[in-house]
Structures are given as structure tokens and as C-alpha cells.
């Protein structure tokens, strides 16, 4: 569909948006930041004749705390996430990822809900959401449901969202104080790159023993995946170069990559090993990033 023939609805409230969605269902496509949809529109691959512009719905843009969770409105832009004192204090791993998304221009437009809706296995906000035990809130008129992030994606560009549902909120765990964390991505260039491989990890240590490791991998399977075997292997063991090697190997084995212009499948497996090994090695050697006690909420 070329842009001349597309109708755009620009509701000012969520209720209005859900109303439109309930009528139009699969004939309308929600647009938040537009960073993906506008490209699809130019390429003529948008099949819907109508777009639902969410950019005027301010009630979908927020970041707030609720007990041990953080709630993020789906239309919250990456730039807001980067600048959020709450995310900085309690979920800095998300900031690590978001600051590596696209470019300043993309971060000023793109939203976290949009990244989920696009459902690319290379979407950089997604791996941290896996290790933060995120839940995605899907709303339609009169009802809503919450889906665990690892149940949300069905494959590349496929999710469990029904056509009359809207992604309205993403909630994540606050990270435990003292946890180490990382988000690493590998692209063909050093900025504004699409991930060849990405990895997000949270590791909680008691002395040198791993209480738990949460590890997710991007761009190496049809969806982002949790490296559960690697997580199991780590549990209760003392962190060592040997253990890191075993974790990284299990992470690599968990991948089901494809070969494309950004990298061969074989390389993606090797690079998964490398990226996980290096990230954990840094933590092992004491120069990893750690979420400290004493962060104060500043707003």
C-alpha cells in the first residue's frame, strides 16, 4: 500500500484507540514511533489500508514503580527510558540496551511497545526484557491480559497479540541490588547497527558463588531466547574461567541461527560464545557493571 492511499486515525485517548481497533481489527495497523512502519510503507509491504497513530496518546507514555516491578507505558520512547531515574536505579540493563538501539534519531522516535510489536529477533530492547521477567499487557475494549515475554513471541514478526488488542504496558522486575548485569551487541559497525548477536545477562553472586544467572540471546534464533541450560549450569557454582567457558558453550549450543548478509550461522554460534564469555569474564575480574545499593529515586 503506498502512503497516498493510507488512512490514518489519530486518537487522543486509549479508550478511543481501543474503540477504533475493535471495529477495524486486522484492517488497521498501530503505529507508535513509526520507525518500522514508515519503512514498510515505503517498501510497499504494509497490507493494512489504515494506520492507528498512537503518538498523541500521552497516557501510554510513562515509567512508574509498583512494588518490586516497574511499569512502562508501551508508547514510551527509548529516549525517555534512557533518561528515566527509575530505570537507571532499578533496571539499568535496559538502559545499556536502549542506548545501543539505532541512532539518536531512532531513539527519539521509537518506542518500547513498537519494538515488541515489530517482533524482530534482533530487536535490542527485547533480550533485557527476557532477563527482567517482563510481562506484556495486551488490552482490548473491556478487558486486558498479561503475557510473559517468552510466551509473547511466536517467531520473526509474529506475536500472540490479537488484531483487536493493543500493547499498552510492559512491566519488569526491579533488579536485585548487588546484581551484575550486561548487555552486549555485536554489529557490523560500531553504532547504528543491526545486531548480528546480542546477549543480556543478570548474575547474582554470593561471595563468588552464583546464586542465579539469567541469560538471554538475540538475533540467533527465530525469537530472542533464554539460555536456560547455561543458567542451570551456573546455579550454585563458584564463578571461574572454567565455569564461564561452560556457560558460554551452553549459550552457544542454545542458539538456532541462520546465515544472512549480516553473518553466517556458524559465526553467530562462535560469536555467542565470545560475547557471553567476555561479558562474564569482565564480571569475574571485577570490572563488570553492578547495580549498587543506595540509588535514590529522584523523581
Amino acid at each position: 500500500m503506498s502512503y497516498e492511499k493510507v488512512e490514518v486515525y489519530s486518537p487522543r485517548s486509549l479508550a478511543e484507540a481501543l474503540e477504533i481497533l475493535s471495529q477495524k481489527k486486522e484492517h488497521i495497523k498501530p503505529v507508535a514511533g513509526g520507525t518500522d512502519v514508515m519503512v514498510m510503507l515505503k517498501d510497499g509491504v504494509v497490507k493494512e489500508k489504515e494506520l492507528l497513530n498512537l503518538s498523541y496518546i500521552s497516557e501510554l507514555s510513562y515509567i512508574k514503580e509498583k512494588e518490586s516491578r516497574i511499569l512502562i507505558g508501551a508508547a514510551t520512547k527509548y529516549r525517555e527510558i534512557r533518561r528515566s531515574p527509575i530505570i537507571n536505579a532499578y533496571a539499568p540493563i535496559l538502559i545499556e540496551a536502549v542506548r545501543q538501539i539505532g541512532s539518536p534519531q531512532i531513539q527519539n522516535l521509537g518506542t518500547i511497545g513498537g519494538n515488541l510489536g515489530t517482533a524482530s529477533p534482533a530487536g535490542d530492547s527485547i533480550p533485557p526484557l527476557y532477563v527482567l521477567n517482563a510481562r506484556v499487557k495486551l488490552q482490548k475494549i473491556g478487558t486486558s491480559r498479561e503475557v510473559q515475554i517468552d510466551k509473547f513471541f511466536l517467531g520473526p514478526r509474529k506475536t500472540v497479540k490479537e488484531p483487536d488488542e493493543l500493547i499498552t504496558e510492559i512491566s519488569v522486575d526491579k533488579m536485585e541490588p548487588g546484581s551484575y548485569y550486561f548487555f552486549e551487541k555485536l554489529g557490523l559497525r560500531s553504532a547504528n547497527a543491526i545486531s548480528i548477536v546480542s546477549a543480556a545477562g543478570i548474575i547474582n553472586l554470593e561471595n563468588k558463588t552464583v546464586k542465579y544467572l539469567r541469560l538471554s540471546l538475540g538475533a540467533v534464533a527465530p525469537t530472542v531466547i533464554r539460555a536456560t541450560d547455561a543458567e542451570e549450569e551456573a546455579k550454585g557454582k563458584e564463578l571461574s574461567e572454567d565455569l564461564i567457558d561452560r556457560i558460554a558453550k551452553l549459550a552457544s549450543e542454545a542458539t538456532k541461527p541462520i546465515s544472512d548478509i549480516r553473518g553466517t550461522a556458524e559465526y553467530r554460534k562462535k560469536a555467542t560464545y565470545g560475547i557471553v564469555y567476555e561479558a562474564l569474564y569482565r564480571i569475574f575480574k571485577g570490572y563488570g557493571k553492578k547495580i549498587e545499593y543506595g540509588f535514590e529515586k529522584t523523581s
Partner: protein
């Protein structure tokens, strides 16, 4: 660096900002694809979705019926010759019997609105019987391969030889035999191909489209339309980047054809993806070298087999092959060589000019070979080169007397101070340093060239300088203005540049082969001399004396205590009905005979450079980060150090892209996979290393105020230096560019 304070010149050796930079930073500069003509039609191209096939029919009837459509053109509508191509006019303007690459143009549409044009485009149907697709040089050479052209899949084959390689090799201490590969590189200029055309009041067809060589564009248009070149005007700038990719025809003939047929203004601009599909790219190469040295490191012989992938047609292929021949021996004393050079057809788009033009391809091979030989000989790679470089006055491998090679020697000696391995920044990082030498001829070698340029002195106090070379970012309009300012000793503010337009400028040739400063600069200086000589006679008449007692300084003629300005004299000439426009033609210095088997080898004037590249590699990820690059250049006298250094930096960054990440690929059906900035990744600012550019003090008497050229010199040796640095870091040698991480680990 040349320090400006010690320069004896007033206007050159100075880093004057580009004369068009205010318009550029202000956003006012109208590029040719920005132009909006009143009443213009929108034009689009219908392209083949088959990479290799026999055309049975093209159906345009439905498209013609769309409301608002003014023209749907196929090969049947071409008035004269259906062909173009800078060297051999074999590229169909619109394909007629066969298609030979994915995206080949089959029809053109022009309509009152974009929507109508696009609707019409969607209604054209082509009936094409697919033929097997040739994806690579190897496939093309297979004896059972289908023939892309009737004559076969070899577009050009030549052998150039000297001495007795067998004998030399048999007595050698070391003989190395290696194969090297380089990729197709896309230009990826920010402004895609495009422009406008219209028929003016005098009936002339005006084509204003991004390009590099307006007079060649004009003659190519003229042949297709069957109208004399004088009835065609071509203007090629402002252009948002070219790098060789706009040197041959892109949209110019299609635009002219549509304007000619419809008698309406027409706008035709390729989308980014169209540029990706149908735009030119650099030739891929496969080069085999067998090179021998004696025990002390003196090169004895070089046997090269060169294959360049020309894609579906030749464009500049034959001359690109010549440059690859000329540069495969490097700047070295090689008494015995055989070069078997082949230009090969495939169904991979069309390869054409790209900065360096065959030299980066050959340089990667010979400079990688030199580095490996140094290793084998346990010699310092700089010493090995110092031992083998040709010296001034020596006879080179192509029977050419070497001019001014001392700059290269000095550059190599300076390189020794910069050649060290940096410290790694982390536990998984390995660092390495690499070196390569660049050599490239300025201009067209033995091909005769007679560039003309003009200056016009306006009584109002302005000097217009006119040349047809195109400034698409190199800064030649500023550099040439500086040369004229220096010659006439007048401030730059009095100089007005008219270039790249057949309406105003005589034929100075185009911008390619690093020769715009050399050719246009020299021709402009001749025009200045002519002007000064004529004006001096007018001054003699004004002073009522003989011209030989008159002196000239800073825009004024002097006789005793009297003075008169060039502008006052221009006024007098005009009053007498005489022209104040002075045009001169240069016979470009050259060897008159090409080496047997070549078209244009050798060149008379060479640019030189030495590059030191320092990299850091993550050993687990195979990712290479270029950290620092030093480039020591001998480009003759430097007209504008900042602009010249900018050219060198830009070439290095393009070269790093070529060496590390850039590679155009086609799928099994011959469809290109890397057609936009998402799929063809180019360096961004964070990929740029620290770059240190140094100029050797140098003066080439044949050049304007001692200048040679600069545009191509720095991109050429990047690949070999990066590969060498990677070898230094991880111990493994790589023979194929780009050095993608999955080729490293």
C-alpha cells in the same frame, strides 16, 4: 605538513574553506535532484526482474491508457543508436533482445503525477525467458557456461610481458604463489542518481543531472537521440557524491529521451533501492600472483593473472583493466613480468569506475605479496620496499622514465617512525600494525587529452573561471580558483567559478583519474597567461609604450609611476568590441605510445602514498577495529592542505569500509542483496579511526604550480595495510576482502 607560514605563495598552500561551503551549511545549495521545474512530468524506469533472459515481448498498452501518462518508451522509441558506455557503447539504453542483469531498464514512463506514473509502471509487463545466471568470474570462465554476449564471457583479454620470468624464477631464493580476492563495492553516495531535463526556447535539450563528465555525457546523449551535440546542454553539479559511480551515464540519456519525446520538462530520480539495484559498483577481482625475490630481497619476477568482474557490460572495464595492469607491479623495479589480464562478463549488475579504478584491486594483491615476502625473508617490510622502489630517472617496468620518486623514499623513511604496534585495550584484544604503499597515475596515461579552459575578465571587477570538470565534493572549484588567484595575484573574492556545464565551460574533460587539478588547473593557467599577454598589449596601448617595459603585480600593470588594473583594461577591450574571454587548450604531457597489449599504460605522473594502519581485534569475536591510520602522501605541491587532507581522510574511510565490511552480493537468481543503507553497511563516524595525514614536500613541474592529484591515492593501499595489520595481530594471513569477522575466526 606543509606549514603555511613558510610558503612563498599568496593563495595556494593555504587551507581556504571551500568556496561553496556557506551554501552547503546553510542548506540552500540546490542539488540537481532538488530542482522542481514548472509543469514537469514525473518519470520512472521499468526494470527487469530477471537477471539473464531472452526478451520475447514488452507490453505497454495498458500503461499508455493510464490517465495522465504522457510517454511509455521502449527500445522501439530510440531515435538513433541504442547503446552507451564510456569506452565501448554496448550498454543498451533500453534492453531489446536480452536482459543481462537484474534491474536492467526495459521501459520508461512519464506522467503528470507520481501516482499516474507509478500506476502505469505497475501495468507494464515483460515476457522474458530466463537463461542460466552467471554469478561469478569462475562460473563465467567455465567452458560450458552460457554466453552473456555473443562473443562470449571474456570482454577483454591481454597479455603484457617483459624479460624472462621462467629464468628469473628458476634462480630465485623465494617464490611465492598466492591468490587474492576483492569484492564489488557500491558507491553509496548520499544523493542517488537523478536530475531533470527540458527543451529550452532555442530547442536545445538541457539535461541537468548528477554526473562527472558533462561533455562525454553530451556526446553519448547525442548518439542515442541522433541530434548534434550542440543542441544538447549537460550540467552535472551540484552533486551529492559520485566517487566514479556517476562517471558513465546513469539517468542522463533516459531524461533526454523523455524530454525529447514529450517536449515537456521531466524529472527522474532513482530511489535508494533503485540506485542499489541499477547503479554501478566497483569490479570484483581475483588475482593470482607468483612473485620471486633473491636472497637480499630484490624482486626478480612477477607473474600476474588478473580477472575483473565487469558485470553485464563493459562501461569503463577496459581501462579499469589497464590500471590494474599498471599497478600490479607496484612502484617497484621488476625486471621480468607477465601480466595476463582478463575482463569478464557476469550477470552481476554493471561494474564501472570507482575511486582508484583497478588500483585498489591490484594493490591488495601486490602489497599483500610484499608484506608476505618481507616475512619470508625476515626483512623489515619498509626496508624491503626501500630496496625495490624505482628511483627518479630509472626506467620503470613499462619503459617509462620515473619522475620524482624521491617523495616515496622519504615517505617510507618517515613511515619507519610511525610503524609500531599499539597496546591492546582489553584482555581479548590483539593489536597489529600493517603497511602498504600506494601508487597511481594521474590522468589517462597515453590516451591523448586536450583539455580547454577559459577565464573571462569582467570590467565590474570579477574574473570568471570556466572548466567542465565537476566538483562533487573534492573541492576542485576552490583549488582551481586558488590557482588562478595565485597566477593573477588577485584575491579569491574576485573569482567566480563556472564549471561542469557545457553551456558555460569549454571541454576540460571530466572529474576522474585524480586529474581535475592537473588538467583544469594547467589549462586555466594557460588561459591566464593568454589573458595577461593580451592585457599587457592593451596596457601598452593605454600607457603609450611598448609592452616589454610593463610589469604586472596583484591585478595591476605598471609603467613608471602609472598603473592600470586588469578590469580597467577589460573595459577598454569591451569598448573596442573585443572579447575579454581567454580560452586555452593544454596538450596533456604523456608518453605517446602505449605498451603493447595495453590501451593507456604507462602514465607520466604518479601520486604516491604510504599508509600505516593500526588495528585491534577481538580474538573471540573476530571483530576488527581500525584504531589509527597514518598516511604520508606525495601529491606534488599541495594547493589547499585542508581540502587535500580531507580527500585523503575520506579515501581512507571508504577504503576501511571496503576492507572490513562492504561487499555487494547477489542471490542465486542474480538479484542484488545489498541495495540500501540497511543491507549495505557503510562506516559511520564511530568507525572512523584517528587519522594522521602528512604531506611530503614535493613539486611536479608538469603540474599547475607543482601539483599532481589527490582524489584516489589514499583508498588504494588501505586493504593491504589492514590485512597486514590483522596478520600481525593474530598471525593468520587473509587473502580476501572484506575481512568480515566470520572470515577471521
Amino acid at each position: 605538513m606543509i606549514t603555511e607560514s613558510i610558503s612563498k605563495y599568496s593563495y595556494i598552500n593555504k587551507s581556504i574553506p571551500r568556496i561553496d561551503s556557506t551554501d552547503k551549511v546553510g542548506g540552500y545549495l540546490l542539488y540537481l535532484t532538488d530542482l522542481k521545474l514548472e509543469n514537469a512530468l514525473y518519470a520512472y524506469t521499468f526494470r527487469s526482474k530477471v537477471a539473464h533472459g531472452k526478451i520475447n515481448a514488452i507490453y505497454t498498452e495498458d500503461a499508455e491508457k493510464v490517465n495522465g501518462v504522457k510517454a511509455v518508451l521502449t527500445y522501439k522509441d530510440i531515435p538513433a543508436m541504442n547503446g552507451y558506455g564510456a569506452i565501448v557503447p554496448e550498454i543498451p539504453v533500453l534492453a531489446y533482445d536480452k536482459v543481462r542483469y537484474y534491474g536492467e531498464p526495459l521501459a520508461l514512463v512519464a506522467a503528470e503525477t507520481q501516482e499516474a506514473a507509478l500506476e502505469a509502471l505497475s501495468m507494464i509487463k515483460a515476457d522474458i525467458t530466463p537463461l542460466p545466471v552467471i554469478h561469478s568470474i569462475d562460473e563465467a570462465l567455465d567452458e560450458n557456461a552460457p554466453k552473456i554476449h555473443d562473443k562470449g564471457n571474456i570482454a577483454r583479454h591481454t597479455v603484457v610481458r617483459k624479460g624472462d620470468v621462467e629464468k628469473a624464477r628458476s634462480s630465485a631464493y623465494i617464490v611465492l604463489e598466492r591468490s587474492y580476492e576483492t569484492p564489488m563495492q557500491k558507491h553509496m553516495f548520499l544523493e542517488p542518481e537523478g536530475g531533470v531535463a527540458f527543451v529550452d526556447e532555442e530547442g536545445a535539450i538541457n539535461v541537468l543531472a548528477g554526473g562527472q563528465t558533462p561533455y562525454r555525457d553530451r556526446i553519448q546523449i547525442s548518439r542515442v537521440l541522433g541530434i548534434p551535440p550542440e543542441k544538447i546542454r549537460v550540467k552535472n553539479t551540484p552533486t551529492g557524491g559520485a566517487f566514479g559511480g556517476k562517471d558513465d551515464i546513469t539517468v542522463q540519456i533516459h531524461l533526454a529521451l523523455l524530454a525529447y519525446k514529450t517536449k515537456r520538462p521531466v524529472k527522474l530520480v532513482w530511489s535508494r533501492e533503485e540506485s542499489g539495484i541499477a547503479g554501478f559498483h566497483r569490479t570484483a577481482s581475483k588475482i593470482k600472483l607468483r612473485t620471486s625475490v633473491d636472497r637480499d630481497g630484490s624482486l626478480l619476477s612477477n607473474e600476474a593473472t588478473i580477472y575483473l568482474d565487469s558485470g553485464a557490460y563493459q562501461s569503463f572495464g577496459p581501462t579499469i583493466l589497464d590500471v590494474s595492469i599498471e599497478t600490479i607491479n607496484g612502484p617497484y623495479r621488476i625486471p621480468n613480468y607477465v601480466i595476463d589480464a582478463n575482463l569478464v562478463y557476469t550477470n552481476n549488475g554493471i561494474a564501472s569506475a570507482f575511486r582508484g579504478f583497478g588500483a585498489p584491486e591490484s594493490n591488495f594483491a601486490i602489497e599483500s605479496m610484499m608484506n608476505e615476502l618481507a616475512d619470508e625473508l625476515k626483512l623489515d617490510p619498509i626496508d624491503l620496499r626501500l630496496k625495490n622502489i624505482l628511483k627518479t630517472g630509472e626506467v620503470g617496468p613499462f619503459n617509462n622514465e620515473i619522475r620524482h620518486a624521491e617523495g616515496l623514499e622519504e615517505a617510507l623513511k618517515r613511515a619507519k617512525e610511525l610503524f609500531y604496534r599499539p597496546d591492546p585495550t582489553g584482555p581479548f584484544q590483539r593489536t597489529g600494525v600493517g603497511i602498504a604503499v600506494s601508487v597511481k597515475g594521474v590522468g589517462f596515461g597515453t590516451l591523448p587529452e586536450f583539455p580547454s579552459a577559459a577565464i573571462e575578465i569582467a570590467p565590474e571587477g570579477r574574473v570568471s573561471i570556466m572548466f567542465s570538470n565537476v566538483d562533487y565534493g573534492q573541492g576542485i572549484n576552490t583549488g582551481n580558483a586558488q590557482l588562478v588567484a595565485e597566477k593573477l595575484q588577485i584575491p579569491l573574492s574576485q573569482i567566480n567559478v563556472l564549471h561542469s556545464d557545457t553551456k558555460f565551460a569549454p571541454d576540460t574533460g571530466g572529474s576522474s583519474a585524480s586529474r581535475s587539478t592537473f588538467n583544469a588547473g594547467n589549462a586555466l593557467l594557460l588561459a591566464c597567461e593568454k589573458a595577461l599577454s593580451e592585457l599587457k598589449m592593451e596596457a601598452a596601448s593605454y600607457f603609450m609604450t611598448k609592452s616589454d617595459v610593463i610589469t604586472y603585480k596583484d591585478g595591476y600593470f605598471y609603467f613608471k609611476d602609472k598603473t592600470v588594473s586588469i578590469y580597467e583594461l577589460a573595459k577598454r577591450l569591451r569598448f573596442k568590441g573585443k572579447s575579454t574571454r581567454f580560452e586555452a587548450t593544454l596538450e596533456v604531457p604523456r608518453y605517446t605510445e602505449a605498451v603493447e597489449g595495453t590501451l593507456e599504460v604507462p602514465h607520466m605522473v604518479y601520486m604516491y602514498g604510504v599508509i600505516i594502519t593500526k588495528v585491534e581485534i577481538d580474538e573471540l569475536l573476530g571483530k576488527i577495529k581500525p584504531r589509527e591510520v597514518d598516511f604520508i602522501a606525495d601529491i606534488g605541491n599541495v594547493i589547499n592542505p585542508a581540502i587535500a587532507a580531507g580527500q585523503i581522510e575520506g579515501g581512507i574511510i571508504q577504503g576501511l569500509g571496503y576492507s572490513l565490511i562492504e561487499e555487494l552480493n547477489y542471490d542465486k537468481d542474480g538479484k542484488p542483496l545489498n541495495i540500501n543503507y540497511t543491507t549495505y553497511v557503510v562506516p559511520v563516524i564511530t568507525d572512523s579511526p584517528l587519522i594522521n595525514v602528512e604531506f611530503i614536500k614535493s613539486y611536479e613541474e608538469l603540474g599547475p604550480f607543482g601539483a599532481k592529484g589527490v582524489g584516489e591515492v589514499s583508498i588504494i593501499p588501505v586493504g593491504a595495510s589492514v590485512a597486514d595489520a590483522v596478520t600481525d595481530a593474530i598471525g593468520k594471513r587473509n587473502y580476501k576482502l572484506p575481512l568480515l569477522p566470520w572470515r577471521i575466526i
